[in-house]
């Protein structure tokens, strides 16, 4: 996947990638300065293409529609360390979303500090993929039947668990995520827990009717769940 990803810059600037390629490229971007520079210059050209397309004027009502939809939406705010939040976000969903993005930002930061490059890269990829799902305006929230938090799923079936108050896995154990499609669980990644809120990218793609669940397993994970789930989503 890594091979040739630099060649995707022009197609990315033109929005000519398939969703999977787009996610892969966006995961690659934070770690590749030459792609970022090249992309910035290509985006100047695509902005010119946008200007060249300009046509009819939008209906005056569209302005109010845009503002009304913004008013109804909580924002994803990324306060950096030490900054103070100015306004409280009124709804619980908003709090969770804000907390989630803080967690993603901290995760990215922590990954940068890690000395192990390959694990940094995969942690970055995972966090980046999670951030993309959370920022996706088409993503929807699926409530949890067991455990506190929610599952966020975008149109491409990429999913992220936002978990509140899940303690760290016991010594010698790990949390393992599962995608359960027609009763069959498929392993979808391991995580340590203990961060609250925790942002856990689900590896793989979920479909309609699937359930995402989390069990406690022995360190290193298992092929099949061996304990009852501590987290389980409603059907997607």
């Amino acid at each position: 996947m890594e091979t040739g990803i630099h060649e995707l810059t022009a197609a990315y600037a033109l929005d000519a990638l398939e969703p999977e390629e787009r996610v892969a490229y966006e995961a690659h971007l934070p770690g590749c300065e030459s792609c970022r520079e090249e992309l910035a210059t290509f985006l100047q050209a695509t902005e010119a293409l946008a200007v060249a397309a300009s046509g009819p004027t939008p209906a005056p009502e569209l302005r109010e529609r845009v503002l009304a939809s913004a008013r109804a939406e909580p924002q994803l705010v990324v306060p950096l360390a030490g900054s103070r939040r100015r306004a409280a976000v009124p709804v619980l969903a908003g709090v969770a979303a804000v907390a989630a993005v803080v967690a993603v930002a901290l995760g990215l930061w922590a990954a940068h500090l890690s000395s192990d490059l390959s694990s940094t890269r995969s942690a970055l990829d995972r966090q980046r993929a999670a951030a993309i799902v959370l920022a996706d305006p088409t993503a929807r929230r699926v409530p949890l039947k067991a455990g506190a938090g929610q599952l966020v799923v975008n149109e491409q079936g990429r999913a992220v668990l936002l978990l509140d108050g899940l303690p760290a896995a016991p010594a010698g154990k790990t949390y393992e995520t599962w995608i359960i499609a027609s009763g069959t669980p498929v392993a979808a990644g391991l995580f340590a827990g203990g961060a609250s809120p925790d942002v856990v990218g689900v590896e793989g793609v979920v479909g309609n009717g699937d359930v995402v669940a989390v069990t406690v397993e022995k360190a290193g994970g298992t092929m099949k769940p061996t304990t009852p789930p501590v987290i389980a989503s409603s059907s997607i």
Binding site: T46, V51, G55
Partner: protein, 198 residues
């Protein structure tokens, strides 16, 4: 007050949007929506869907303004990118593809309510970019227009045009690089956008 933020740069407005300032979002809308909507209409060829793309694009601006980093792109570029992406996603879902994306979607801009300055600037820019596009080799222009205005992915284009994917990639790359050069050459004065005054 509707234009209380009129003196601020686009980037400053994004910073205010990140703090939940709805008026700042309104001001950004006033500056960028005209181009964003025209672009969405060009891609989607349906006014209702174009409105959806603009709305969802601006909603992404609102939701993710805090993640905008000015050193990576200008705010207007970023906003247009978000709207364009929504338009492309929608056109792919709707399969409402341009049968002939190369036919010039010549915009009829007569009788709009915009001020004459902005109108003149847009016309000037449109002609400048179209002139630059005409200087590209046909195959490069075709790849760029089908992708950007037609919403085709590079894989779809390779199939549609019957050429290897690598060829499409290099046409896009060479075409965009050349387009940028041509536009740089043509831009004597640095200002991309007119000064907006209320």
């Amino acid at each position: 007050m509707r234009r209380q933020h009129a003196h601020l740069s686009d980037e400053a407005l994004v910073a205010l949007v990140a703090r939940g300032d709805e008026n700042a979002l309104g001001e950004l809308y006033d500056r960028v929506a005209r181009i964003a909507y025209g672009l969405a209409v060009r891609v989607l060829r349906d006014e209702r869907l174009a409105e959806d793309a603009v709305q969802e694009g601006f909603l992404s601006v609102w939701r993710t303004a805090a993640s905008f980093t000015a050193e990576r792109s200008k705010a207007s570029t970023w906003i247009l990118t978000l709207v364009h992406r929504r338009a492309v996603d929608l056109v792919r879902r709707e399969e409402r593809r341009r049968a002939e994306p190369l036919a010039e979607g010549t915009a009829d801009v007569a009788g709009t309510s915009e001020g004459p300055d902005e109108e003149a600037w847009l016309r000037f820019e449109r002609e400048r970019v179209q002139a630059a596009l005409r200087l590209l080799p046909d195959v490069q222009r075709e790849a760029i227009e089908l992708a950007y205005y037609g919403g085709f992915s590079q894989s779809e284009l390779a199939e549609r045009l019957g050429v290897p994917l690598g060829t499409i990639k290099s046409r896009m790359f060479a075409g965009l690089a050349r387009l940028r050069e041509l536009l740089d050459e043509g831009a004597q004065e640095g200002s991309w956008r007119p000064e907006y005054t209320s």
